[in-house]
Symmetry: C2
Subunit: 384 residues, 2 copies
C-alpha cells in the first residue's frame, strides 16, 4: 500500500487547511543539496522562494542570510531583505516601473539581480541607473527550449545587450535560463535532453560573451526536473529550483519524486455524499486546492488531486474529480460509484496537490508538523 | 469596437493588480435588484458574499446590516458579524467541528443559518444544540439538477430530516437549492429550464413539508444565471446570487452579460516579447489571474482571459493562452504571430477574467475606480 505520512494532529485545526510534513520537506531539501554537491564542488543552489514564500522556511533553504535565493516577486525580496537576507535574483523580466523598488533594495545593502531579455529593458535600466546614481546588477535571460521568453544563446543580440549593460550605468552580471519545457517531459531521456539543453545554452552564451571580452560572473540554470538530472555542470555557477522542496503530482508524473515525497497536502472533511452517483463531497474546493490541473499534462491525470486517509494511506482509485469554490467532489477514477459507507460524514482526508506552488498560494498559513507531531503555523508572504 | 471601461488611473499601482470598475459593479447590482423586483414583490435577494468578500462592498450589496447575505465560509460570517451584519446563511454543508463557531455567531445576536442534507449532520446538530443549549437554524439542501449535493425534493428523507430537526433541539428553517448545472447552459432555453427546475424543486419540497405540518419559513433558490431568468417566483422567499456583481467570461459565455458588464479585470504590464512566435509576455500569471479555465466549458474558450488595452478597447482575436506563476503569454487566437511592435515593453493591458470568484481570490486588495477615476483600495477577507 502506498503510504504518505500520517499527521496525527490533522484532527486539530478547522478544515480545510494546508499541512506540510516538515520532515519530508527537510528530506527533499537535503536530497537536492546532496545531488548538486555530488555533481559539482563549485555550483551553488539558489532555491526559488516562490513555492514556500514563508520566512519560517527560509532558514531551512539557506544556511545563512548571505546565501543566494531566487524570488518571483519584489514583495518576497522586500520581506526577506527586511530581516537580513541579502543575495537575491528577481527572476521575472523587469518592468521599468519596478526599478525604484529594486533601487531601495540596493540601498539596504541587498545584492539584488534583475533579469531582462530585450533592448527596451536594457535602455530603461541603464537610464534609471544613470539618473538615480545606482548600479543594478542584470542577468540576461536565455531561451533554451522555446518555452517562454529569453534570447537564444547563439543570437547576436545577446552580445549587443550585454555590452550595452557593461558600458552603461547598470552592471552586467551574467546569464540565466530555465528549462520550462521540462515540465512536459514524459521519460528519463526527454528529461536528460532538457537538462542538457539548459546547461548547453548557458555555457554557450557565457563562452560567447567571454570570447567578446565581456565578464559573465554568474551562469544560472534550473528547474526542479533538470536540477535533479545528472548532466555535467562544468561552466555553471548556480542551479535554481523551487518545487523540489515540497514536490507534487506533476513532479510525480514527470518521474522525479515518489508520492511519499510530496510534503504538502490539503486536509479536508467529508461534508456530504451523493449516494446516487457514489460521490463524496468535501469542504476543500478550488479555494483550498487551487484550480491547477497540471497533472492533466502528465502520463496520468489526477483531477484536482489524489486522496489519502488521515493515517496516510493512499486511497487507490480515488481522486478529486471536481472542485467548486468551497466543495470538492471525490469519485472513483473508473467511473463506478464509490462505497460511501466507508466514508462517514466528518471523516478527514488528505489531498495531494497537482502543483504545490499553486496550492500553497491559496493559503495564508501553513500547518507544519514534524515526526513528533509538533505543530507550527507558518505565514505566507502575499502579494506583489 | 467592443469597449470596456477605461481606467485612467491604471498607470498608478504596480502591476499586476486587480481593478474593479465601481460604476459597472453598481450597475450590475442595480440590474439584479430591478430584475428580482420586477418578478415579485415578496422575494428578497440574499447576495452571495463569496465573489467580493470585502467589507467595503457590503454596503452596496445590502441596504442595511439586518439585510440577508450568503457566505461560503464561517470566516466571512465572523468578519461581517464583527461589524454588525446579522442575517446570514452559511451555504456549505456543515461539518460538526464547525458548530462551536456557529454557536458563537448566535451568541453575538446573528441569525446564522446552516445547511445540511443527511442524517449524520442532523444528528450532530441536534446533539450539539441540546448539549450547548443553543438553537441553530437549519436549511435542508435540495438537489434540483444532480449537480453536487442535496436531497431530491420528492425524497422521503426530506420529511424525515425536517421532522427530526423540528422535533430536536435545532430549528428547521426551510429549504435551499442551487442550480449549479446552470453554469453549463448553452442557450436561453436550457437556462430557462434550469431556472424552472430550481424553483420547481424548492416549491415541491416546501409544499410536501407543509402538507406534513412542518413549517418551511424560507424557500431559497439561486445562481446568477437562473436569478436573471424570468421564471415565476411564486412560493419562493429569496434568491441567492454572487457573481452577478462583477460578471466574467463564463457568464458572458452563458449569455447573461455583455463584455462591458464585466467589472473586474487584472491590469498587467508587457515585460517581454517572443518575437519568433509572436507572443507577448506579461507580469500577470496564474498568481494574478487564477488557473480557472471556466470559459473552456462555454461556446468559446477564452484561455486565461480576454485582453483590452488601458483605454478599454477590447483587442479582438487576442487572449491569454498560457499562464505560469508570474508570467502570462498573450497570443492571437488564430495561431498566427501577433504584431509585437504594437505592444511596446511597458504597455499596460487589462485582462478580463474567466471566473471572477477565482480571480478575486488571488488578490488581498482590489483597486476600485469610479467614473471620476476616484480611487479606493478594498481589502479582501481571507481564509476559512
Amino acid at each position: 500500500m502506498t503510504k504518505i505520512s500520517s499527521l496525527a494532529l490533522v484532527e486539530k485545526p478547522d478544515t480545510p487547511f494546508l499541512a506540510i510534513d516538515k520532515n519530508v520537506m527537510l528530506r527533499n531539501i537535503e536530497r537536492m543539496r546532496k545531488h548538486i554537491g555530488s555533481r559539482s564542488d563549485s555550483v551553488t543552489i539558489r532555491p526559488h522562494f516562490k513555492t514556500l514564500r514563508t520566512l519560517d522556511a527560509a532558514p531551512y533553504l539557506l544556511s545563512d542570510q548571505s546565501q543566494p535565493i531566487t524570488v518571483s516577486t519584489l514583495k518576497e525580496a522586500e520581506v526577506l531583505a527586511a530581516v537580513g537576507y541579502s543575495n537575491m535574483t528577481y527572476a521575472v523580466g523587469i518592468a521599468a516601473h519596478k526599478l525604484p523598488r529594486v533601487q531601495a533594495l540596493l540601498a539596504q545593502g541587498v545584492d539584488c539581480r534583475i533579469i531582462l531579455d530585450n533592448q527596451a529593458q536594457v535602455t530603461a535600466v541603464n537610464d534609471f541607473c544613470q539618473q538615480t546614481q545606482c548600479t543594478i546588477a542584470v542577468m540576461i535571460e536565455l531561451d533554451c527550449d522555446g518555452h517562454r521568453g529569453g534570447i537564444r544563446a547563439d543570437d547576436a543580440e545577446l552580445i549587443t545587450l550585454a555590452r550595452q549593460l557593461q558600458d552603461g550605468a547598470a552592471e552586467f552580471r551574467g546569464v540565466l535560463t530555465h528549462a520550462g519545457e521540462s515540465y512536459h517531459c514524459h521519460d528519463a531521456q526527454q528529461l536528460r535532453q532538457a537538462a542538457q539543453a539548459e546547461v548547453d545554452a548557458a555555457r554557450l552564451a557565457s563562452q560567447r560573451l567571454r570570447d567578446q571580452g565581456i565578464a559573465c560572473a554568474e551562469v544560472s540554470v534550473g528547474s526542479t526536473p533538470t536540477a535533479l538530472s545528472d548532466v555535467d555542470l562544468r561552466g555553471i555557477s548556480e542551479v535554481r529550483a523551487g518545487v523540489y522542496t515540497l514536490f507534487d503530482l506533476v513532479m510525480y508524473g514527470i518521474g522525479v519524486c515518489q508520492l511519499a515525497d510530496i510534503a504538502a497536502r490539503v486536509v479536508t472533511t467529508v461534508i456530504g455524499h451523493n449516494a446516487e452517483r457514489g460521490w463524496l463531497l468535501t469542504d476543500a474546493g478550488w479555494m483550498a486546492l487551487s484550480s491547477d490541473r497540471g497533472s492533466a499534462a502528465t502520463w496520468q491525470d489526477h483531477g484536482y488531486g489524489l486522496v489519502a486517509d488521515s493515517a496516510g494511506n493512499l486511497l487507490q482509485g480515488l481522486q478529486v474529480s471536481q472542485a467548486n469554490q468551497e466543495h470538492g467532489v471525490i469519485t472513483r477514477t473508473d467511473g463506478k460509484p464509490l462505497n460511501i459507507e466507508d466514508f462517514a460524514i466528518g471523516t478527514r482526508l488528505q489531498i495531494l496537490p497537482n502543483h504545490a506552488c499553486a496550492t500553497m498560494a491559496m493559503h495564508d498559513h501553513y500547518q507544519v508538523f514534524d515526526d513528533q507531531n509538533r505543530h507550527q503555523i507558518w505565514s505566507r508572504i502575499r502579494g506583489w
